[in-house]
């Protein structure tokens, strides 16, 4: 079974044979995955299956042991060539700036206001003048519905508002691909909708995304393709209609989805 998207030429994100272990525990056992430009790929699967680890490797928040991750043809984390040498700190930073990441626990900078959270990367990484960075921050915070909260500290915002700042901080850097790791699972149920709406909006505008979620309904609505990950491998993949419609005969997927029966 192929999990590759045949329609695209060179995919924006191309993962081949990705392996990763934490000490004795192998977490990724040879993951192959492509994400084309403008595509939204959702990763679902049981807890401990390696979804978070996969995203963290793509942003090189974790090193990986074997295989290759390429964004726009450039190897993530390691220098090209036969010897597997880590890139320089400066090079790593440059590449990480090309991928946006939104975290489950928001990870906003608590000492900075909403606007300053968004501005930090623009000023220090993109070298934009303060005024321009501020204008970009205001634009994106308005886009996520936080025009009134520009100068509030994270501690003065609700969880849903904090996570929307997290999204603004990531997209303001104009990343090639946005990585979202269960961005609503730390939120009260009534705050989930406001955050997912922002993501749906971004998807409709053509933002390339790799999304880990437990919100099956959302996965169905937002994705071009859904990937089911279990035990460090991609066990099934396909368009949401096929994957959720029972067209794909994978026992683990069936068992996993049956837990969400009511919501699919």
């Amino acid at each position: 079974m192929s999990v590759l998207d045949p329609s695209s030429g060179t995919p924006l994100l191309r993962i081949r044979g990705l392996e990763k272990a934490y000490g004795q525990v192998t977490v990724l056992r040879g993951v192959d995955l492509d994400v084309a430009k403008g595509e939204v790929v959702t990763v679902i699967g049981p807890s401990g299956g390696g979804k978070t680890t996969l995203l963290r490797c793509v942003n090189f928040l974790e090193t990986y042991d074997k295989g290759s991750i390429r964004i726009d043809g450039e190897e993530v984390g390691y220098q090209d060539g036969p010897r597997r040498a880590m890139r320089s700190e400066r090079d790593l930073a440059r590449m990480r700036a090309e991928t946006g990441m939104v975290f489950q626990m928001f990870n906003l900078f608590p000492h900075l206001t909403a606007a300053e959270n968004v501005m930090l990367g623009l000023v220090k990484v993109r070298r934009k003048p303060k005024a321009e960075a501020r204008a970009i921050a205001e634009h994106w915070l308005r886009r996520v519905g936080l025009a009134e909260k520009l100068d509030r500290l994270p501690s003065e915002l609700s969880g849903g508002q904090q996570q929307r700042v997290g999204i603004a901080r990531a997209v303001a850097m104009d990343p090639k691909i946005l990585l979202l790791d269960e961005i609503t699972s730390a939120l009260d149920p009534e705050l989930v909708g406001e955050v997912l709406d922002v993501v749906l909006q971004l998807a409709s505008e053509g933002m390339t995304m790799l999304v880990v979620t437990h919100e099956i309904g959302f996965a169905r609505d937002v994705s071009n393709r859904v990937v089911f990950m279990a035990d460090g491998l991609i066990a099934a993949a396909g368009p949401p209609r096929e994957l959720f419609g029972g067209a794909i005969e994978v026992e683990r997927l069936r068992a996993f989805l049956s837990r969400f029966g009511a919501r699919v």
Partner: protein
């Protein structure tokens, strides 16, 4: 009594100046050295971490008095001769650096791991993450124990009198040696030390308020 105090004041001021210079040197040097070593302890590769950990554990396990005598009388055996003043400053700096290392470790350790991740994800380099993400958050936890340590350094600087350096403490003893009138001098000396350290504590509380922007 008043006459004794008036007579003593010029001598004490001279000694006080030395006390302040020693304290300042020790605080500045130990903060720089201990700060760097503390960062090495938290983020450095394994050999650096072991070295710093070993240094800190050993130094903190030795009484400061032993450290002073070791550096003044011990190092010449190894061919390194230090003036009393330098030896005293070096000993106090080594001692205080070990404390600063632990202050830094504690302060950085209190910051959630996700902060470093978020800084990386935005594209900040290690130095930028330290400067703009970690340090502004760590400073709040770093300051109270650090200022405590500064008052310790001021008090500890009295130990340089043991090597014959004329600091405030030594000046007091010299005046007492001449006037045979100990009590007013010790009272006066205690007041001076108290004023300095009370000032530092007040400064500490002010700084803590200044950096209390993070509510938990």
């Amino acid at each position: 009594m008043l006459a004794a105090i008036l007579y003593a004041i010029p001598f004490l001021m001279q000694g006080l100046l030395t006390t302040i210079v020693v304290s300042l040197l020790v605080v500045v040097l130990s903060t720089a050295i201990g700060g760097l070593m503390g960062i090495g302890l938290v983020y450095g590769p394994a050999p650096v971490r072991w070295l710093v950990r070993g240094f800190s554990d050993i130094v903190r396990g030795i009484p400061i008095l032993v450290l002073i005598f070791f550096i003044y009388y011990g190092l010449p055996i190894a061919g390194l001769n230090l003036q009393p003043f330098s030896a005293a400053v070096l000993a106090l700096t080594v001692f205080k650096s070990a404390q600063v290392i632990e202050n830094v470790r504690g302060a950085i350790g209190s910051i959630p791991r996700g902060q470093m991740d978020a800084g990386k994800a935005v594209g900040l380099t290690f130095a930028q993450r330290l400067a703009y993400v970690i340090a502004p958050q760590a400073i709040r936890r770093f300051l109270p124990p650090w200022i405590n340590g500064v008052t310790d350094a001021v008090k500890g600087s009295a130990l340089v009198s043991l090597l014959g350096v004329t600091d405030l403490m030594h000046a007091m003893q010299q005046v007492i040696g001449r006037t045979y009138n100990a009590l007013p001098l010790y009272v006066l000396g205690a007041i001076i030390y108290f004023v300095i350290n009370y000032g530092l504590s007040a400064l500490s509380r002010m700084l803590e308020r200044r950096f209390s922007y993070i509510r938990e």
